[in-house]
Amino acid sequence: MSTITQLSIFINNEPGAIANISKTLKEANINLKAFNIAEGSGFGVLRAIADKPKDAADKLKKQNIIVKLTDVIAVPMVDQPGSIYEVSKVFGDENINIEYAYAYAGPKGAAVFFRVDDTAADARLSVQRPQRDAL
């Protein structure tokens, strides 16, 4: 478990908005490992894990896209029943509230990215579990 940086991107709620953003990502040669899209009323927020988030953010800003770097906790897990329970129970036991989460499953294994309010959460959770590279 470790803290990693994700891209948060503001998107208009209208046809073609995601296509526009992903075109820019393509042209900037940015590969996304995982992402989710949250829906607000009348707008959306795309959150994504990219290889070099700071680079990616700079490139997107140059295209006038609203982007912010935010920290999420990446937790590697075994791709089998019960894994989510095992991890989320640790959060609960430590009284850490999860704001949102999204998952990734790739050749090297599975991982879940958690966004929490508590900045010290990662350190507190590390005590509970040995660190491992999420991706």
Binding site: S8, F10, A38, G42, F43, N64, I65, I66
Partner: protein, 434 residues
């Protein structure tokens, strides 16, 4: 044919002109003496009270604009001391400050007098029950219609706006025969009644509606009348004049303007010269009896034409045709005046968004819906949907506060709204009136 004040309403046209000239001369002499604001305007234009020798000489007088009311906010252009002012009403201004109007006791009396004549000309009597579904409060619609109907002796049911189901119930229970509201609200009411299984034609005693405060058409009139069997009358006015004041008569061929209350001109807005009767142009009005503050050659910005042909009802006053548009960019949304400049002004106070915007107006279920698209500033962006929703709510709150109407806000990426060089087209009005 019933008249409220037959002698005045059926006065021979030649006599009207003599009396109007007399009223105009006295009005201007009084303003020149007692009203610093209008005196200054006259001095600037180099015109003196004695230059008004004929009615046509009115064109020598300076125009007044909505901006004048704003510049003199709140009471700097009042002619009378505040202890002679018995009421204020407030409407939207073009930016920031609203437009404030004041009334002396006589101003209120003549407002009701105008409406009493109008309502009588449409057959309203003391036997009627009048439901007033215009907003009460700062807006002149509710209180104006209220006192006008009371003056005629009708029984007033002051429902105001909203709570439509209850309004329909009361309409049935109290035997309402006449209603005053916006045309879109009546259409909404008809729809809601139908959903509740109430047929206005069979299940109520409603016979007449006085519809105004927003643009409407003959198509809407036909729709309302076909759906309900009532007669729908156009009512006109605005807070600068007093409020809603003038209606069509039973002939429904133009709005009668009581000659002893308001003098009308129609001009070409470009050349500022009068256009011939029957030709469309911008309405310019002079309130001949107004005491609290002057309204002389006021550029109303509504487009209409004067009708001089005698009306079959026997009234000899001029009429104006149904308002067909505006010479400025003012929007009327649910009866409330909205200027794009107000929206811009309000956005400048909100740090999270830029001043670029688009206004989209739709009519959904007979009601106007205004959507405001604004651009989020990059530094205001948060990853949390909750915080973004709070920004959106803040814009909605500020708009409600300044425009006095509910606005649906959509946050957009910076740069995603159209940019304009020269005259901007920030309003898309998708309402259809037929």
């Amino acid at each position: 044919m019933a008249y409220w004040n037959k002698e005045i309403e059926c006065m021979p046209p030649e006599r009207i002109k003599e009396l109007q000239l007399d009223m105009l001369q006295k009005l201007i002499a009084n303003l020149y003496e007692k009203n610093q604001f209008y005196r200054n305007k006259m001095v600037q234009k180099g015109v003196k009270p004695e230059d008004i020798k004929t009615l046509e000489d009115i064109t020598k007088l300076p125009f007044m604009y909505k901006q004048d009311l704003r510049d003199n906010y709140p009471t700097k252009m009042f002619t009378v001391p505040l202890n002679d002012v018995v009421r204020f009403h407030v409407s939207s201004g073009t930016t920031g400050k609203p437009t404030l109007v004041g009334y002396t006791r006589n101003d209120l009396d003549y407002w009701s007098e105008a409406l009493a004549r109008s309502l009588t000309s449409c057959g309203v009597t003391d036997e009627d029950v009048m439901q007033v579904s215009y907003g009460y409060g700062l807006f002149t619609g509710g209180l104006g219609a209220h006192y006008g109907a009371e003056k005629v002796g009708a029984t007033v049911l002051p429902t105001g706006t909203g709570n439509t189901e209850r309004q329909i119930e009361l309409m049935q229970d109290l035997g309402v025969t006449a209603i005053a509201c916006t045309p879109s609200y009546l259409i909404h009411m008809i729809d809601v009644a139908r959903e509740k299984g109430v047929d206005i034609r069979k299940d109520t005693k409603l016979k007449r509606a006085f519809l105004g405060a927003e643009p409407w058409t003959e198509g809407m009139r036909k729709h309302i009348e076909d759906a309900t069997g009532i007669k729908a009358y156009d009512i006109y006015g605005m807070s600068e004049m007093a409020g809603p004041m003038y209606t069509e008569c039973e002939e429904r061929n133009g709005i009668h303007i009581p000659w002893d209350i308001m003098y009308v001109e129609v001009i070409d807005p470009e050349t500022e010269q009068p256009v011939p009767a029957g030709q469309k142009g911008e309405l310019v009005v002079t309130m001949l009896r107004k005491e609290a503050f002057p309204l002389v050659r006021y550029r109303v910005k509504d487009i209409t034409n004067v009708i001089l042909e005698p009306c079959k009802c026997g009234r000899t006053s001029v009429r104006i045709a149904r308002i067909t548009g505006r010479t400025d960019d003012m929007l009327i949304i649910r009866g409330i005046n909205v200027f794009p400049s107000q929206v811009e002004h309000t956005l400048l106070q909100i740090p999270e968004v830029s001043a670029s915007y688009m206004i989209i107006v739709d009519r959904i279920n007979s009601l106007d819906v205004m959507t405001l698209q604004v651009e989020l500033k990059p530094e205001a962006f948060s990853d949390k949907v909750e915080e973004m929703t709070a920004v959106k709510k803040r814009v909605e709150y500020e708009m409600k506060k300044y425009l006095n109407i509910a606005v649906k806000v959509e946050l957009k990426e910076p740069g995603s709204l159209p940019r304009f060089e020269g005259k901007s087209k920030r309003v898309i009005d998708r309402r259809t009136y037929e």
